[in-house]
Every structure is written in structure tokens, then in C-alpha cells.
Symmetry: C2
Subunit: 229 residues, 2 copies
DNA sequence: CAATTGGATTATGAATTCATTATTCGTGTC
DNA sequence: GACACGAATAATGAATTCATAATCCAATTG
């Protein structure tokens, strides 16, 4: 094997600052360190990350395109709000995309992938039985990610990610009632069954409905939080 | 009425160069003046629009986030390709979103809007009878836009637009066979009926299927074009 | 004392300059 | 003559500088 056959190594050249910044800024917003409604002066970011304004501005533009921040002419960037109205706007879109994830995953997943997801599903059941919420959420995320990968559609993945990021800030905050949790587990099982049977349309419909139910259980909690303080 | 009650006028301050540039660049790509695979050196754009590289770079970053161009480290921007594989990736996403447009439009449209769209549908029929393709496409677009507006969901509108733009470059190129055209008209009528009955789920399913059929009629034509030259 | 106005300050928008990475082209060697 | 090496050129990445709009604050006026 000659050196000419070796794939170019990306690791040698570190990613562009703008890309790096976009990721880190996104994380700051996602983890709530930058809160909805908060203004983000460029100076703050240049100091925090030790870079000039140029890459900062490029990163902010991208985040604006993703809907995580709002840009106002000559007044800079503000972290997007997360009102109930916003959620009711975002979740149906996420549900529609989730439905497609299911349809495509049923068509394109390898048996290996279906197996892996079954294992995750079992693990999630054990977390549920223990009442271990952090672990449940963690595995839940993994299942979604695995499904998305199995769908084999980068465009879908991209848009799903962008919408999911906007929604997930709420998902982490909101509390899960025992009733809704049990319901969700049943839905997950039905999803897994359709998946293993490769019933594309059915799986799509189930996953779409699952996400819609999630909104319905979340909205009141968010509304209470906004109203209460 | 005092001056304090007057809404601030946006027209006085012209939009930021970066925004303006983003729109115009997008148009150039959409209309095919910048072709898929073509490199877009920054210098070219600064000369064409008479601005510095700073706003150009910001605009390109946004277009990359939208998927219209690809960015390669230290090698600039390239107009995204439009292969059959790409189309088969983009269309299902568009179909899923289109389905949601239907569901929501059925729920939220005013009777006025339904009426307007019925009129457009009738007009489209006349264009079909005349065999007037440009007019047919034009009205078709208007119907889609009206449906999107009736859905009352800005997030959906945003993602729909982004995905539709990627797809539409193909849509204009491809030729419509008489058979497919007649079929499409029937689908449109079914869509209109479900719309007027406000059958949300059914309308969603019909619009999703309509888009999926469109892909199936387009893909061979695109494949032939790619293969032939 | 409240409200408005004008200047000072600060932030963003855009252009320019500097640094680093690709690309091109010519030379030399096998 | 083909390939490899290296200097010259041109592109992009990032920082700095300049211009302009928004905000803040004090002074003035009713």
C-alpha cells in the first residue's frame, strides 16, 4: 500500500474558527448558558473565545439561518425566544420529519441496525423500570439518532437536527408525568414492532404521532412555567 | 393621531448588504446563472456587486447553511450538485413537509383562502386545457404559496422554502409528460376537495403523495439528462 | 420636576490589511 | 518525456481599521 492510497487526514488542519465558533455558540444556547431573549454582543464572544469579530459574525449569521438567534439591523443578535406559540409551531414540523425518518428507516435499515435499536429499546425499558429519568432520556436520544442514521438521508438529517435543536431546549426543561412516561413507553414498543416488521408507512405514522403526543404533554408545563415566572 | 402612534418605517434604512447579497446570490443560483458544480470565487462576487469581501463571505455562509452551496476548507464555495441521488434525498423531505402544509392548512385556512385557492385551481384547469405549461407552472406555484400561508406556521414555511428551492432547480428543467400532467390535475382536484371538506389528515396524505409522484416522474428525466451529457 | 434634545459613548456594518493555505508553473532529474 | 520538487502566484481565513447607526446620559427648558 503506497502513501498515494491514503485518505487525506482532516485532523492535521484544525477546522475553521467560524465553524468551531458556530458549534460552541450553539452548545452555549442549547445548554441554556445563553438564555432565550438574551442579547449577545459581539464583544462578549470575541473576549470569551479570544478571536476577532470576523469569524464571530459569520457564526452568528449561520445560527440565525438555523433559527437559534434573531438578528436585528444594527442592533445585533438575540437568542430566540421559546414561547408556547413557538413550540406549537416547531413540534408539528419535527413530527412530520420524524414520520419520514420512520418511513425511510423501515426501508433502509440493516438487520444489524434493527437489532441494535432493539437492544437500546430493552435498555430503555430497564431505565423506565428503575425510574431513572436521565438514563431514559439519554437512551431515547440514542434511539432517535440511530433511527435517523438508518434513514440514510443527509438532507432529512440536517433539517431534523435544526428543528430538533430548537425544540429540545424545551424538552430538557419540561417534566415528564408518570402517566405520560408509561404511555411513551408503549408507543416506543409499538414503534419497535413496526420497525422490525419493516412496515414503513405504519412506522412513519407512529413516530409522527409519538412526537405530537410529546408536544401535547409538554405544552401545559411550558405554559405554566412562562406564566408562573 | 400623533406621530407617536406611527409605525416605524423600515424603508428608510436599506437592508444590510449581507442580506441583499444573500438574496441576489440565491437568485443567481436558482435561475441557473451559477450552475451546479461551478466554483464561486469571492473576488468574482465582490466585483460583480461592488462590495468588499466581508458581506460576501457572510452571505455565502448563509447559503451554505441552506444547502445551496458547499464550502470546502481554504478552497471556497461551490454551487451544490443536483444529482439524481440528491433529488431522491430532497424530495421525500419536501413531501413530508408538504403533507404537514396540507394538514395545517385544512385546520387554519379561512373560508376566504379556500375560495381563493379554488379559483386558482379553476384557472389552472383552464391552463391545462389550453396546454399552457408556463401558466400552469405559475399558478401551481401560487397555489402552493397560498396553502403555505394558510398553514400559519413560519417555521414550516422556512424549512419548506429552503428544501423547495433546492428541488425547484430540477423542477423547472424537467419536462412534464402529458400522462403525468393529466394525473397531476386529478391529484390537484382531489386535494382541493379534501381542502374544502377540511379533512386535515387526508389532505396531508394527498399532498405528500402528490409530491412523491412528482419525484417519480422527474427522476428518469433527470437521470437521462445527466447520463446523456 | 418631567420631558426633550444634543452630544458622548458604544455597538454594529463594511472595507482594508495581514497571514496562511492552495494552486500554478517552471525547472531539474531519472 | 514523465514525474517530482520548489518557487511564484492567487485564493481563502482572520484581524484590524474605518464608517455609521443606536444607546446612554447630562443639560436645558417648559
Amino acid at each position: 500500500m503506497s502513501l498515494a492510497d491514503v485518505e487525506p487526514v482532516e485532523t492535521l488542519s484544525r477546522p475553521a474558527l467560524a465553524v468551531e465558533l458556530t458549534d460552541r455558540l450553539r452548545t452555549l444556547i442549547m445548554e441554556g448558558e445563553l438564555k432565550p431573549g438574551e442579547k449577545i454582543p459581539e464583544r462578549l464572544l470575541t473576549e470569551r473565545f479570544g478571536v476577532s469579530r470576523t469569524p464571530v459574525r459569520e457564526a452568528v449569521k449561520v445560527l440565525a439561518a438555523e433559527g437559534l438567534v434573531m438578528l436585528v439591523q444594527n442592533r445585533g443578535a438575540v437568542v430566540s425566544e421559546l414561547t408556547v406559540a413557538e413550540l406549537e409551531e416547531v413540534f408539528p414540523v419535527l413530527a412530520a420529519l420524524e414520520g419520514l425518518v420512520g418511513e425511510l428507516a423501515a426501508l433502509h435499515a440493516t438487520t444489524q441496525e434493527i437489532d441494535d435499536i432493539r437492544r437500546l429499546n430493552n435498555e430503555m425499558h430497564r431505565a423506565f423500570d428503575r425510574g431513572d429519568r436521565p438514563n431514559y432520556f439519554e437512551i431515547n436520544q440514542q434511539i432517535h439518532a440511530a433511527m435517523l442514521a438508518a434513514a440514510r438521508n443527509p438532507t432529512l438529517a440536517q433539517h431534523h437536527q435544526i428543528v430538533a435543536r430548537r425544540a429540545s431546549r424545551a424538552r430538557y426543561q419540561a417534566n415528564l408525568t408518570p402517566e405520560r412516561w408509561a404511555e411513551a413507553m408503549e408507543e416506543h414498543d409499538a414503534i419497535q414492532r413496526a420497525f422490525e416488521a419493516r412496515e414503513s408507512k405504519k412506522l412513519g405514522a407512529l413516530m409522527k404521532a409519538h412526537m405530537e403526543h410529546k408536544l401535547r404533554s409538554l405544552a401545559p408545563a411550558i405554559a405554566a412555567k412562562s406564566g408562573g415566572g
